[in-house]
Assembly symmetry: D2
Homo-oligomer: 284 residues x 4
């Protein structure tokens, strides 16, 4: 089915749903899915609308422009995407490969739909396996402690490969604010705690010390403030006094894989709108 | 906030969302919440739309009629409800009172919004407590095994009290098809298994015998076929070899209370549409 | 079945299980349940053992003394309890009654086994209902801001009623360190967040502001450091952008009831050992 | 740490725990972990005990024989295993590879400890990837519908490779009773429903038709009766009216991987005892 997906946010006011629905209807489209949300506290309206473009009187390349007058009148931020807009994703990993391989397998089997022109890591370990799976692998070590140089190389690669989304699949290097700001709401990180509990390093160790009865993980957009970005998804698993730190780490790995994949999927399906430090995730 | 809530279902076709949105917008309303769903296999469209009626040009009492031409043209089933339409609920229980008291407490504190003019039971046990909580209690024993007579009395009471929704809060008497058909999609039952597993009597005992590692409960609309009606909500809890049948029953009680309350809440908030033997539950 | 339940903790060493098992066996007992745990990091051994006392050669009143030589030799902390040792519980609540009534209903139906000679509150609201349920209700307002005076009255009551366990069922008054220290590991609190996230006041509001996708609750022993005590149990429920603060509060209530009841049950069944700031909870 | 792990089951009677603990203690061992369970309905006692063998006075190869007199006296079934007993596992898959690759990755990273001398499939698809990962791959197509011949070849391979455990990682060929009986309680299958709901073919389709609000999966030992064997682990995930059959299948895949891995792990760690059609899974 040929469709267009619009994401809209604007100040709440009367007639928003009608304006969008009429634009679609009057041009011969059919709304396949629509979801909206109003944050009454902030007075902000959010909508995701997906409509069939077969028979639509405006060609895909002109839809955004054709909608502009409505958006201007209603003070809307909006974007339009088509199934032909396949995102280009870079996956960054460190020593641990569980999230990396999990994602690559999901891309390979078509569960996640994107191109992956780049896998990069500060460790050489995954070169063989990633190559076998058909992706370019860039081994980017931090040489002589010069993190800035490594990050610069990485940034060049991301630009050269025209990357739309960066996925931090347990990438253990802290990114500079400049780097993060170069990809606003386009870097997804998996943090191995139930944020805001246990920010920073070694969260499973912190959780073990505190004696919690559940451990969690959080997928969020990276921002300049470490572990403070808008949360996309979270989940937890039960632990007990019987579980050692190694058990927490092992149980956490399964969560990390699942939650990161759900967040990446939501992003790739244009189901996430960020506002302030929060997210609206449609279809959840 | 004064609002109207419409539930709509109809064959899928172009312009449905626009038709509803325009009806609201052109009469001066503001859509507060809207959710839609299309079952592409069945070709059926479902929508729940809630709009502010302050300033709406049509009085509440005439909205349904004013919408009728649109509904006729688009072959829609629809209903319109207002906050002033407070449902009248009857709660039926047997010996065990956990679901009954849980519901009454939720009504009392305003978490569930309805009037409860009747609590009925085939046991006398709850008379004091229910009376203390301010509800009428009808003790309806089955005399000489004459279930039909008991059911007839119950039916008269429900009619006399103008009951909109019957909640079977672990009511252990099987209802006749005639009784069930008198309240189509207006009887909610809590079955103490994860349907369709363990239909019929003593599901926790069945679950124990089978050695399952989770036990579940199911809230569903009662139909003439026992335990076969449209499912509104379900949930499960983990059990192990350590758990006796008594432990399963105890753990299940907490699920029964929570899941039944969620289902009743969804119904009272006009978030459920039944089609075939399934439900669309908006806001989940 | 007549049984004795022993809770043991001591430095880890050889022969601990054998020493306990032989004590039981040689005196004619039969171990019904036994669970042990070793914290290898700390080198501490924990055991809970329950044995039949029918036919046991030592009368209940002398078992503790008879075991003392073994405990001394192996440097054990231990306690012995019998089904006849019914705990005396005080439940403290404030304006909100959901945890209070939930607990009282569980005591009433025998799910939780204890006597409840005292319900106390800084609000008068629950007097009627608690009285109807057959418990004494002490309305203890804070007069002229004199919290110390109110706490002193409360402490006198707890002592007069010989209270073994204090349950803070959403009791919103901060307790002084002196009060808490008077009941070491004998005050259970329910905190309405997934600790250590959102310590302090209004955790649901904090959670809403942070945009989390799950909200949680924590049952823990109260210590002089607020919200820092040993955790007994935790749980979470999924929320989304659709949920208002009121929805978080509502969803949280169901968690609070369930998790507090599980923690109280574990304590009353002598399944909890506190060590450092952690708990071993046997049977989980 | 050098340890021995014993699994014991026998008729319940006095002195069982003491007999085992003394055997360990008197020969110079130290119990590291011990868990026991009594099925009071059936009168059966189960125990898993793990003890240090460093300094134990009986060499590993003679421990089983040395324990025999105790076992005979108390009518015990028992087994003794050592860390050096590394299980030999065969993984069987069909077209879908998600469970297969998930397991191989866990073996590779040491999360699951075993040798995997054989991966077999009725499809050729996984040959390259499995070879890359360093395992032998046997493509065993069913030729001319002769399932018996294919199964015979498979059985020969399993015997030649001295396989201890067969894992059906979404292997879609029905196994004959003779085959299953050749590996009693040594074949683990993952069924993609919450058994006993939706036995047989296409359970996700059945679940979709029934309109359930959760879908589940079940890991169990294969028995001659299809989908009826002893359950080792189960789990569920929430679905809604928005989820298509494809969504159920996708959500289910993550469950299948996690639950199958947990069950295989429990088996390899000697934490499972089967009795009747149930399991005791220690450490859960």
């Amino acid at each position: 089915m040929s469709t267009a997906t619009m994401l809209i946010s604007c100040p709440d006011q009367r007639g928003l749903v009608a304006a969008v629905a009429n634009f679609v209807f009057e041009n011969g489209g059919n709304i396949v899915q629509s979801a909206q949300h109003t944050d009454h506290g902030e007075g902000v309206f959010f909508q995701r609308v997906e409509f069939e473009t077969t028979g639509f009187q405006i060609p895909n390349s002109e839809i955004s422009q054709a909608f502009a007058p409505i958006a201007t009148r209603l003070n809307m931020d909006y974007s339009v995407r088509f199934p032909t807009d396949v995102a280009r994703v870079a996956v960054l990993a460190s020593k641990q490969g569980h999230c990396l391989y999990d994602l690559l397998f999901r891309f390979r089997m078509g569960e996640l739909r994107a191109e992956v022109p780049l896998v990069a890591s500060n460790h050489p370990d995954h070169e063989g396996a990633v190559g076998f799976l058909g992706h370019d692998y860039s081994y980017l070590p931090v040489v002589d402690g010069d993190k800035a140089a490594q990050e610069k190389t990485l940034l060049s690669l991301l630009e050269a490969k025209k990357i739309d989304l960066v996925v931090l699949a347990r990438y253990m290097q802290v990114l500079s604010p400049a780097f993060v700001n170069a990809f606003p709401h386009r870097i997804i990180n998996i943090h191995h705690s139930f944020l805001p509990a246990f920010v920073g390093a070694r969260p499973y160790h912190q959780a073990f010390e505190r004696g919690v009865k559940l451990v969690g993980v959080t997928a969020h957009y990276a921002t300049a403030d470490l572990d403070q970005g808008p949360i996309i998804d979270q989940d937890v698993v039960r632990v007990s006094h019987r579980d050692s730190i190694e058990d927490l780490i092992r149980k956490g790995r399964d969560l990390e894989k699942a939650v990161l994949a759900r967040a990446v999927r939501a992003h790739l399906e244009h189901r996430v709108i960020v506002y302030g430090n929060k997210t609206v995730v449609f279809g959840v």
